[in-house]
């Protein structure tokens, strides 16, 4: 299927006069070079021809779009183009999410197929993020045609809103990588020349050769100083103009003066050049910063991925007719159709259909969950296998997804108090170092003027407080990213430091320890003329009207009878008419004429027909599967554990017994809870509150720090310092240990930095450290600090 003048294998143009061919399934195909021929034959002979089949699958631009793809043509409109593409003259650029893309062969297929469409200028596919970037002339072909072509290839395209895709940290990372590349290439080259120069110093070198090597070093070192080291100069200048000199000031002075002196020596045949020290210094500084930045960004990566998996269009159902609209136009109570494979555009409740939903992005659970009518769906999760219809409950900023993003944004901007202190101290240290360097310069100027510059340079380089400045942020950044791997979202920069001091863990309400989803534990049918299935179906049909958490226990996939005039009776139950009979479901007193049968309890629900009982349901909320193990682990690590709940004594006692919690308080009002926490704190305990805090925010705020389990859509209202995105409890134990480890590493790092600087300074002042050794020493000390912090990544 290859176009005759391009290579069958690599799709590059064939050179003129090239007559190489390879026989694929009996057909000779042109290839561009013996290499491609060899690979193509290898693939053929290994029986991997499906590789090409996947690549060359249906050619787009041929034939009419299939009926279900016709709806993509809506996107040919100019308002859609404006919403989803960046336009520059006659060229449009759009980022499209292609669902159903699994491997790099897919990216090949998309690139080659779309690339063949007339008007498409370039296609870049990123198989990791499942996104592609298309540039095309929009007067020749519409966005809708491109989307239709993608959908014809078997992918589920989803255009992403323009501007969504450029993230400042990605640009930052790219720039840093370029600088690092320049610095490392420059350093390698300069070092190579420096070896020649040093050898020359010892064994003699002809003047021309020395000059040549110096000149070449100058050319290579210049971009290192002016490009790779520019952030240091910029930051030093910012520090100076804000009257808060940072650690980049001595760094900049060292780089700038060593470079200037070397340039001077190069053109005046001076005694020595320090291009190698400069390049090395810049390289190691850049490397240290780069590693620290990577650690910082790793925790952001995920939230970026989250926001970008939200689709930008949705299929709205208006009076039975389907219509594709941008997600921004969805409002509460809209009906939306979600096809298998699509991601869910807003928070909502399933109104028809049932499907497996992949909620990994929100909860980290790899296993898809079966979701049926009445279940909540969170925006950003993916509908895997069947078409469902949902009623929108929250859009845009109201979704759980955007709450996560908002919270991680908040964490990024609240710096731990600890880091701020370190910054302030660094400022004083920098001033002190500059004073010392000046004193050293003056002393040596009178003592031995020839060596004054070199020694001052060494002092500046070797005492660079980089290790000191990196010690804390590197550790915190790594801990944050490790926590996000554990599905714990830190929303307050101070949380880690507080967690490391924690002594007492207080579980607020039983729901924290239970899975939070009510289930029917036992069902007893009380009349012979009904069977279990009928009871379940009738109960489910009645409970459809209710929004009470217990109602969710009755969800079923059975076919439901039709209920007329369903009515919710607050705190009692639901009534409704089925086939002319009046049914009630709820508490014994509500359903039964003779309510003395059973003591009132929220966990027993009766289904009754005209005042007589038909079935009895025992509803229970199961413990989280790892609750027992987690509590054991917490206790074995020496943490005290309490349960402070607003539930009745029976429920609390049962859970406390199952988990052997000694300190369990029941029937607590928020004021009681707060009082208990305060009394613990008065005894010198550092209290971590674990609870969702939705109705008792002051309680969470009263504790030293708080962790909230995420209950899907309720996440938006949470205000805890740490949020558990997953369902498991055990990451709490890991988080407590990790926090302690983080503070340990911070202390180690600070100690190391102080010891290093205290040792190196006198040696440098005494003139015993040449500049290149100073550069190695300084970078070694910062690398130690960063690598030490990176160990936290492996903390389990």
């Amino acid at each position: 299927m290859a176009v005759p003048d391009t290579c069958f294998h690599c799709a590059l143009p064939n050179p003129r006069g090239c007559d190489l061919t390879v026989e694929i399934e009996g057909q000779p195909q042109n290839v561009c070079c013996p290499g491609c021929k060899a690979v193509a034959e290898l693939i053929r002979d290994s029986g991997m021809l499906s590789y090409y089949a996947m690549r060359d699958a249906p050619q787009p631009g041929v034939g009419k779009p299939a009926p279900e793809e016709a709806e993509w043509l809506v996107f040919n409109g100019s308002e859609m183009l404006a919403a989803f593409a960046d336009i520059n003259k006659d060229i449009a650029v759009a980022t499209i999410y292609a669902g159903g893309m699994y491997c790099s062969a897919c990216s090949w297929l998309i690139e080659t197929s779309l690339g063949k469409i007339k008007g498409v200028l370039s296609v870049d596919v990123n198989p990791v993020t499942h996104r592609l970037r298309v540039r095309w002339r929009f007067e020749e072909i519409g966005l809708g045609d491109i989307l239709a072509a993608l959908s014809r290839l078997g992918y589920r395209p989803q255009p992403l809103a323009a501007g969504d895709t450029t993230r400042p940290e990605i640009a930052e990372q790219r720039a840093a990588l370029k600088r690092l590349l320049v610095a490392s290439l420059g350093m390698m080259q300069v070092m190579m020349f420096a070896v020649g120069l040093y050898a020359g110093d010892f064994q003699g070198i002809d003047a021309d050769m020395q000059r040549f090597l110096r000149l070449v070093s100058f050319f290579v070192a210049t971009p290192v100083v002016f490009y790779a080291a520019r952030p240091f100069f910029a930051s030093a200048w910012r520090g100076v103009s804000a009257r808060r000199p940072g650690m980049d000031l001595p760094v900049s002075i060292a780089i700038g003066s060593a470079y200037a002196a070397s340039v001077y020596a190069t053109f005046t045949n001076g005694p020595a050049v320090w291009f190698d020290s400069v390049a090395m210094f810049v390289f190691f500084l850049t490397l240290g910063r780069f590693l620290e930045m990577r650690a910082r960004h790793r925790s952001i990566d995920r939230s970026v991925a989250l926001s970008q998996l939200l689709p930008n269009t949705a299929t709205l159902i208006v009076n039975g007719a389907k219509k594709i609209v941008p997600v921004a136009q969805l409002t509460k109570d809209d009906r939306v159709l979600i096809r298998a494979g699509d991601s869910i555009p807003a928070d909502g409740i399933i109104v028809s259909g049932a499907s497996a939903i992949d909620e990994a992005l929100l909860t980290g659970e790899a296993e898809p969950r079966r979701r049926i009518v009445g279940d909540l769906l969170a925006a950003g999760s993916v509908n895997l296998d069947a078409m469902i219809e949902m009623r929108v409950t929250g859009t845009g900023g109201d979704t759980a997804l955007s709450a996560i993003n908002r919270l991680s944004e908040r964490a990024r901007f609240t710096r731990p108090a600890f880091v701020n202190i370190a910054d302030r101290i660094a400022s004083y240290i920098v001033v002190a170092l500059l004073l010392i360097a000046t004193a050293v310069a003056l002393y040596w100027y009178f003592e031995d003027p020839e060596r004054a510059f070199v020694i001052t340079l060494s002092v500046l380089v070797v005492t660079c407080p980089c290790a000191l400045a990196l010690a804390t942020p590197a550790a915190f950044a790594t801990a944050g990213s490790r926590l996000s791997e554990l599905r714990l979202l830190v929303t307050n920069g101070n949380a880690i430091e507080v967690l490391s001091r924690a002594t007492h863990i207080v579980f607020d309400k039983t729901g924290t320890l239970t899975s939070g989803t009510a289930e029917i534990r036992t069902l007893a049918v009380l009349r012979d003329d009904f069977d279990e299935q009928q009871c379940r179906a009738i109960a489910a049909a009645l409970e459809q009207a209710s929004t009470h958490p217990i109602a969710r226990a009755f969800r079923t996939e059975l076919a439901l009878p039709v209920v007329t005039d369903g009515q919710v009776h607050v705190a009692q139950g639901v009534s409704g008419t089925i086939d002319g009979s009046r049914w009630r479901i709820g508490s014994a007193s509500f359903v039964l004429d003779d309510s003395t049968l059973e003591e009132a309890s929220s966990t027993v629900v009766y289904l009754g027909l005209a005042g007589s009982p038909v079935a009895r349901f025992d509803i229970s909320d199961a413990l989280r599967s790892d609750a027992l193990d987690t509590l054991k682990a917490l206790k074995s690590k020496g943490y005290k554990v309490s349960l402070v709940s607003g539930d009745n004594a029976g429920a609390v006692r049962e859970i406390a017994k199952a988990l052997s919690i000694d300190a369990a308080h029941s029937d607590c009002t928020p004021a009681d809870k707060l009082r208990i926490i305060k009394s613990l704190q008065a005894r010198g305990e550092c209290v971590v509150m674990i609870g969702d805090g939705i109705n008792d925010a002051p309680v969470l705020a009263g504790a030293d720090t708080s962790i909230a389990p995420s209950h899907g859509a309720l996440l938006a209202q949470t205000n805890a310092d740490v949020i558990m995105l997953g369902d498991a409890l055990h990451p709490i134990t890991t988080a407590l240990g990790l926090s302690a480890a983080t503070m340990r590493i911070v202390r180690q790092n600070l100690l190391w930095a102080v010891v290093y600087n205290a040792t190196a300074l006198p040696l440098a002042v005494a003139g015993m450290v040449p500049p290149w050794l100073a550069a190695i020493g300084m970078s070694f000390s910062s690398l130690v600090v960063v690598l030490n912090a990176l160990r936290l990544h492996r903390y389990t």
Partner: protein, 239 residues
């Protein structure tokens, strides 16, 4: 070392910047490593990709050593050839640079000879696909190093001019390391990379040409400088 410096750098740059073509040829082939592997298994694919690439570079190093051995025999046979050969390697780097910049294929005839060698190796490669274990990936890499490729042959010529089996191997390792980033990430973001490469092909070529000039300049200066001060032998001894 100073004389090797630019040659090694040029070999590395050739590998790094010249791999546009390799990308077209070999990108997406990472699918062959583990047929049907999903994106989620990048963690398992990465070690395989590294093993495969290590194999490839080892083959290059071997080839480099062999051709350099031939080179040294030839140079030893003709006295006073050392400096002109250095100059030749400088010139060669410049040609490679031009080749990269303008997409020339000067060595396509040599590729045909290489294809003949490859035909003998290909049957062994078949058994290694899909390369879903470390030994298989390494083996496939070892064989892949023999794939007919003009860029590799350019680098081999360069290796030959070092006239030292060790140096030749070193040049080819530098070249192989240069191709690594492209080959390792090819499965991950081939498209971006190849787009970037082809956009910057001219710049890449010019960079290689500059390195060639540096290589060329050093022996030239030394020849002129050495004539005046007779410091040539001394300097070499220093290294």
């Amino acid at each position: 070392m100073t004389e090797f410096g630019p040659v090694l750098a040029a070999a590395f740059a050739t590998g790094l910047l010249g791999s546009t073509h390799c990308l077209g040829m070999c990108a997406g082939l990472s699918g062959l490593f583990a047929a049907g592997a999903t994106v989620a298994s990048i963690k398992t694919q990465f070690p395989l990709a590294v093993a495969y690439n290590v194999g490839r570079v080892l083959s290059y190093a071997f080839l480099g050593g062999v051709v350099a051995l031939f080179g040294s025999t030839a140079i030893a046979a003709v006295p006073d050839l050392a400096a002109p050969v250095r100059i030749a390697s400088g010139a060669l780097i410049i040609v490679i640079g031009l080749q990269v910049a303008f997409g020339w294929r000067l060595l396509s005839s040599v590729e045909k000879i290489g294809a003949a060698i490859w035909n003998r190796l290909a049957p062994h490669a078949r058994g290694l696909i899909p390369a879903n274990s470390m030994p298989k990936a390494l083996g496939l890499g070892l064989l892949w190093g023999w794939l007919p490729c003009g860029l590799v042959y350019s680098a081999l010529l360069l290796a030959a001019t070092t006239a030292d089996a060790f140096g030749g191997g070193l040049v080819m390792i530098a070249f192989g390391l240069g191709t690594m980033p492209a080959m390792i990430v090819s499965g991950l973001s081939a498209s971006k990379l190849s787009a970037f490469m082809s956009r910057n092909r001219l710049g890449a070529g010019i960079l290689i040409v500059v390195l060639g000039i540096a290589t060329l300049a050093m022996p030239l200066i030394k020849m002129s400088g050495g004539a005046q001060t007779n410091g040539h032998g001394q300097h070499s001894a220093a290294l």
